[in-house]
Symmetry: C2
Subunit: 350 residues, 2 copies
């Protein structure tokens, strides 16, 4: 006998990438930033740790941090909601819009958490395959859904939809639309400018990727105040710790430092993509801090395992066996990966 | 037109206590600890801040912290689940066990978040009034529910149910039963010893009260491994930041320091309760770090407002207007409150 709701028995739960904490691996499997966060983060914490009363609850709405997000991204604080990572915000969104037998639709393949969150709500998910060259599937424009999600740049493909394409989706749909911009700092443009015009648009951001702060668990979303007010009803009162609010506020003060790292990563991405092409892999055009490499019809699990044996972790999804998602590390990280992979291919260990 | 699920329109959301961040108030409204956390917490963070890679995701299951909880509380790590505060764990529990039209039952009055979480699931909540002297209502033993919750010691009353009473509830019900022990370190005993025997028992703890760490957002629960495995499906992958895991681990290493503060608070609680009785209030017997004072039939909002004007924050719930919930601060905090209140009563400002 089980105590749990029936539908939970059928759900596997989301499987996060491996997170060895022992520092024995070059981690290129969960799209972490190879560069540390702005030195301002540690400095600010060092300065404030002794002054602050950790015995007090933190600001429920992250007031200081929202002010800072507002200053950087140009929307007032009541258009901003801060979460315990953008995963928590996604969970809040799915709970707010999807009940039993409702439907969320999104282009596929994408972040598999969307499917898990739909299942947890007993909702249906419509996974609409991307069209040619990973363009937005037309079917998503007309899909009858209570929620639509577009991950842009998309994970695991790294491909990007331009702002006019997003604008067109917003025009053709009246349900809430989430543009999950976790990786957008590595892309050519973003959807921020559209928020004002569309009250059903929610733009989602995280400090885990471009800001090098996956360890602090901070994400935020920007949307019209009516949208924020509804989502707040679902949020836990004190969802972001004092540390995380302080660290995120400091990081946003050093926006320039982050943009510098982004430029380095984009350069490495270009060189790595070329090198992988030379090794015979198809490399999808990426605007994120990772690339998806493929050998259509083949199974790349052996590459994944060989790299792991050599202390390099990349992401292999059994759902897409002919592909690997490889995060962009430092130049030397990527050169080592290329070396190891070349050796494997040369020895015919494949 | 609204984008949200219909039932959300009818929900107000949980209203947390006021959290002024400017240090201008003596805060006796949200049961924070007046003493700082163990010095080990700050020392550990100072030592590790520069060594750790904040750019990495934290341990999804809080491995090091679970080892520490295991060492202190005597259950193996796979019997332990760590949350972003015990509020997050409650939210996970309600999502795991309650669907539309299911029912949760609990003694009333209690923590009003239970009601909000039930409403978010479109579930029914059965609020069963405590019996004489806040004893467990018999009706909860036979209530047909998918989940039962007992806050013990209870908030806002501070009253306590002994272990045999909890044991009896566990024997008479087959649904999952949460014993929310947020305040239990201030009580005479706890339900830990019952966990082994009852696979439907979930014991909930937090570091926000006795450990003086409301700012870090860490709670944990202990239950049988099958229970943990089901709840994990609902949990966000990376729900506790690196800081919070590190700080909580350090605090648990200094269990003795916490118990010392608890003893001080219990002493202050006894003296404060006597002083409030002398002022003519009924004071419920408390085993928590707060007391509920009452003047049956009266409305204590004027006391709340007068104290606030004098920079002392206590908790007034419009749902229970003849009562105030007052957290136990330092001796001098409580003496000042008594002084201010005496002056108000003497001047007949009431």
């Amino acid at each position: 006998m089980s105590y749990f709701r029936k539908h939970l028995e059928l759900i596997a739960g989301y499987q996060p990438g491996e997170q060895p904490q022992d520092g024995q691996f070059i981690k290129l499997n969960t799209n972490e930033n190879p560069y540390p966060p702005s030195p301002l983060v540690i400095e600010t914490l060092m300065e404030n740790l002794n002054k602050h009363r950790l015995s007090w609850y933190p600001s429920p709405l992250c007031d200081e941090l929202r002010e800072r997000v507002s200053a950087v991204y140009g929307y007032p604080p009541d258009w901003i909601l801060v979460g315990n990572g953008s995963d928590e915000l996604l969970s809040i969104i799915f709970r707010a819009f999807l009940g039993k037998d409702d439907r969320v639709s999104y282009p596929y393949p994408t972040y598999t958490l969307y499917r898990v969150l739909a299942l947890l709500q007993e909702a249906n998910y419509e996974e609409i395959p991307f069209e040619k060259e990973y363009s937005l599937p037309k079917k998503i424009l007309t899909s009858q859904a209570q929620l639509k999600v577009v991950c842009n740049p998309n994970s695991p493909t790294g491909t990007f939809l331009s702002t006019p394409v997003i604008d067109n989706l917003l025009k053709s749909s009246s349900c809430p639309i989430v543009v999950d911009e976790a990786y957008v700092d590595f892309a050519r443009e973003n959807a921020l400018s559209l928020i004002k015009e569309y009250p059903h648009l929610i733009v989602l951001r995280t400090l885990s990727k471009s800001y090098s702060l996956a360890g602090i668990r901070v994400g935020f979303l920007i949307a019209h105040p009516e949208m924020i007010r509804g989502l707040l009803k679902v949020k836990d009162s004190y969802n972001v710790s004092w540390f995380s609010q302080k660290a995120a506020t400091a990081a946003l003060q050093d926006h320039h430092y982050m943009m510098n790292n982004v430029e380095k990563i984009k350069r490495t991405r270009r060189e790595f993509s070329q090198a992988m092409s030379r090794l015979g892999y198809s490399v999808l055009p990426s605007e994120a801090n990772f690339v998806m490499v493929q050998r259509p019809g083949d199974n790349l699990e052996s590459e994944y395992l060989y790299l792991k044996k050599n202390h390099i972790l990349v992401r292999y999804f059994s759902e897409w066996p002919d592909s690997l998602r490889i995060s962009i590390g430092t130049d030397s990280n990527m050169q080592l990966l290329i070396q190891v992979l070349s050796a494997m291919l040369k020895d015919g260990k494949k």
